[in-house]
């Protein structure tokens, strides 16, 4: 068994142990297994990374098992470890391990402790399968698996109907995306006869054009990506997914799983390089998503909802980077985003923990002095996401803005303006969040206030590590590290001189957002309230998320319900199927009723029938015998 297989199997082992026997083994044991195995996986990943470097960055391939052989085609469970994979795997195992550790403190009181860790390990297993898979098929298994784990974890407290429904919603929206993904896979397989991603990329990069439109495949795969990575139009599940435990939100719905779409597009860059139309769509969708989510985030009061929309928005940034061909930059943003968004979510978890479950930021305030570690880490992460230099978010976001403006593969002023405005909004709503939560006067109930306490070290320690990473993560030059694989697009000649202007602009944007938020929300809430009152209509639209859920319900949900009810249920099921069966049944019943009159229950009559039969057969025999 190779090291790559080991990486994948370690979390699976954790899932089996905790899932099958966790309830009997005690919390301490569950914690050790649940965190220890991902930690080992991280260590092994580091070892693999070192091997990769020692091997001159030549990809490591490893076949674990031959899954199926159909005719000439062989489907293997094979793993592939190159630069891109290395980055992703390190994020997944590293951040994953940190969040596991954080969960020890966060979930300590939960009665389904073992189940939680089992699910978490299961998620890690599938995520690693997704990241390490050599072929699209293995990736797809991981893709579906993380969907399953996400469903299980969103609905972790399934006793609450709303949370169970959120899990279901996530699952259904993911399935819609998966349909596109599957179609894309079918198209690739029918054209190329293989699902190995290096082979596919090579085929599209090669001289002869494959017998399938790169645009078509690209769009289909992107549909899958929109589902998993919460882009328009399938993003609505992600805010609802905050129903799960907060570490889950941090791990799955911020740092790792939702970036799977980004990873997929980057991994399939060979296709997208030859599909400029698809790339344009990606950029457009990404920009729209980023803007829309950012506007919504301004008007949200739930701390996790704000972060969720912020995640959607940041994912939009990544897709813009992908759309303009800056794949390495997208992965760079994935990395930094993983750091600071995980930190933010975990910090939010810490706040919620301190507030005894309260999530409404309007009822917080002044927490900065009471939970200083959380406050400091949360502030660093906020600054990072807002793009304050020299924190990590500044570098990645700046590069995205720069390529949105200057890339020869679809960069434009319009795109840049939208993204810049979005960045401004980002800074604004993030600082709003920070201010409302940690500054000002406490607005919570006395009772709650009395209970506020700093989280245990297992949580704050993780926060500190992540805050540190958020701060310095920008100095890891990932785009350059990935350049041999994912080329950085050329910058148009006209744009070259504007680079420093853009850098300065983005610093200004961040500062403006900071200042705006400080001006609005410092002091009493009168100014914010006045703005809210003046733009009441806009505020209503924003706080209700553009009524997208209601829209979907009108145009998709209700017609579907109506069709299901009227056509399939009443006509098809009740009338046709049930009617046929009931008709047959009642026919049989009536026929049996008639026939059962023969069955008189009287032995005499039976015996008499025997006699009649004997006489008849004897007579027949004598006549014909």
């Amino acid at each position: 068994m190779g090291l790559l297989t080991l990486i994948v199997l370690l979390p699976l082992l954790g899932f089996l142990v905790n899932g099958l026997a966790g309830n009997r083994l005690g919390k301490r044991f569950v914690s050790v297994v649940g965190c220890g195995l991902p930690a080992i996986a991280f260590a092994v990943t580091v070892k693999c990374f070192l091997d990769l470097r020692a091997g001159g960055w030549a990809p490591i391939a490893e076949t674990a098992y031959v899954w199926a052989m159909v005719g000439q085609s062989t489907f293997e469970i094979a793993f592939w470890f190159d630069r891109l994979t290395a980055v992703m795997a390190l994020i997944v195992t590293g951040v994953g391990t940190l969040i596991h550790v954080y969960s020890i403190g966060y979930m300590h009181e939960d009665k389904s402790y073992a189940r939680y860790f089992a699910y978490l390990n299961l998620f890690l297993f599938f995520m690693l399968l997704l990241v390490l898979g050599k072929s699209l098929l293995v990736l797809f298994v991981g893709w579906e698996g993380v969907g399953l784990a996400s469903y299980l974890l969103i609905g972790f407290w399934f006793g609450d109907m709303e949370k169970a429904a959120a899990g279901k919603k996530a699952f259904v929206f993911n399935r819609i995306g998966d349909a596109g993904f599957l179609l894309g896979m079918f198209a690739i397989y029918s054209a190329l006869g293989t699902l190995d991603m290096p082979a596919i990329n090579a085929a599209f990069m090669g001289a002869s054009t494959p017998a399938v439109s790169a645009t078509l495949v690209g769009i289909l795969l992107f549909i899958g990506a929109t589902g998993k990575s919460a882009q328009i139009p399938l993003y609505v599940w992600l805010p609802d997914a905050m129903a799960g435990p907060t570490p889950v939100s941090a791990l799955i719905h911020a740092a790792t799983m939702v970036t799977a779409g980004v990873y997929l597009v980057a991994r399939m860059s060979g296709i997208y390089l030859h599909a400029p139309e698809a790339s344009t769509i990606i950029a457009a969708v990404g920009a729209l998503t980023a803007l829309m989510a950012a506007t919504i985030a301004i008007a949200q009061d739930d701390i996790k909802k704000v972060l969720a929309y912020s995640t959607v928005s940041q994912l939009g940034f990544m897709f813009v980077a992908l759309g303009v061909g800056a794949y390495g930059v997208a992965i760079f943003h994935v990395t930094t985003h993983a750091f600071f968004k995980a930190c933010l979510f975990l910090g939010a978890g810490s706040v919620i923990h301190a507030m005894s479950g309260e999530q409404d930021i309007q009822k917080m305030g002044g927490l900065g002095r009471k939970i200083p570690v959380t406050f400091v880490t949360f502030a660093i992460a906020t600054a990072a996401i807002a793009g304050i230099p020299p924190l990590s978010g500044f570098f990645s976001k700046d590069e995205i803005l720069w390529f949105a403006l200057g890339s020869e593969r679809g960069g434009s002023v319009l795109l840049f303006s939208v993204m810049a405005f979005t960045a401004l909004l980002t800074a604004f709503y993030m600082f709003r969040l920070l201010w409302l939560t940690f500054f000002g006067k406490p607005r919570m109930l006395k009772d709650v206030e009395h209970h506020i306490h700093e989280s245990p070290f297992s949580m704050t320690g993780v926060l500190m590590v992540l805050a540190f990473l958020s701060a310095v993560g920008g100095f890891i030059a990932i785009p350059h590290f990935l350049e041999p694989m994912l080329p950085i697009p050329a910058i148009g000649a006209a744009m070259q001189p504007l680079h420093y202007w853009v850098v300065g602009g983005s610093i200004a944007i961040a500062a403006t957002g900071l200042a705006g938020a400080a001006w609005f929300f410092s002091g009493d809430s009168a100014r914010a309230a006045a703005v809210k009152a003046r733009f009441a209509g806009v505020y209503r639209v924003l706080s209700n998320k553009y009524f997208v859920d209601e829209l979907y319900d009108r145009i998709v949900g209700r017609p579907l319900v109506w069709i299901s009810d009227a056509v399939f249920l009443k006509l098809g099921d009740r009338l046709l199927i049930d009617g046929t069966l009931n008709g047959l049944a009642s026919l049989a019943q009536r026929a049996a009723g008639r026939l059962s009159r023969v069955q008189t229950g009287s032995l005499h009559k039976y015996a008499f029938l025997v006699l009649v039969g004997m006489v008849a057969s004897l007579v027949w025999m004598w006549r014909h015998g």
Binding site: H604, F608, V612, M614, L618, W622
Partner: protein, 176 residues
Amino acid sequence: MIHDFLAHLETLLLWGFAGCAFVSASLMLVLRQPMRVAMALVSCMVFLGGVYGLLGVHFIAAFQVLIYVGAVMVFMVYAIMLLDPRDESATAKYSKLLWPGIIGFALLAEALAVGYWNDLPHAPRGALGEPFDIARFSTAFLTEYWLHFELTSVLLLAAVVAALAVIKENRRHERG
């Protein structure tokens, strides 16, 4: 005279036994008391035993009496003794199918008789096959028909088990 009598003694006895058997069987349909019916059946069986004896198959005759009378009818009489003989069914002797039954009997008897008259293999009249005694019968039984014999013993075992089960059920019913 007496010579003629002696010469035909066996035939006369055969006819006599056959007639008595028939009369006993007919009485079974007419008598009301189950015990009397049982007696009629016993006598019918004994007369049939006599018929077998006259045909020269003594062991069949012996077994007829031994098994039918000594076992089956003892069981039957036992059951009749255990059950109240003054049952309601004794007052209404016949079922509603009395006349259809009698007509059916006539038809069946006629069909069988006609069949025998027409189709019975007449060949061995006078040239009777070699009569066999118990030795030949036993040898055949244990060489040619041993499988059948074993199968019937299995059947007997099954019957014993089944009877036990029924009695168990009965006892449980009583207790519960």
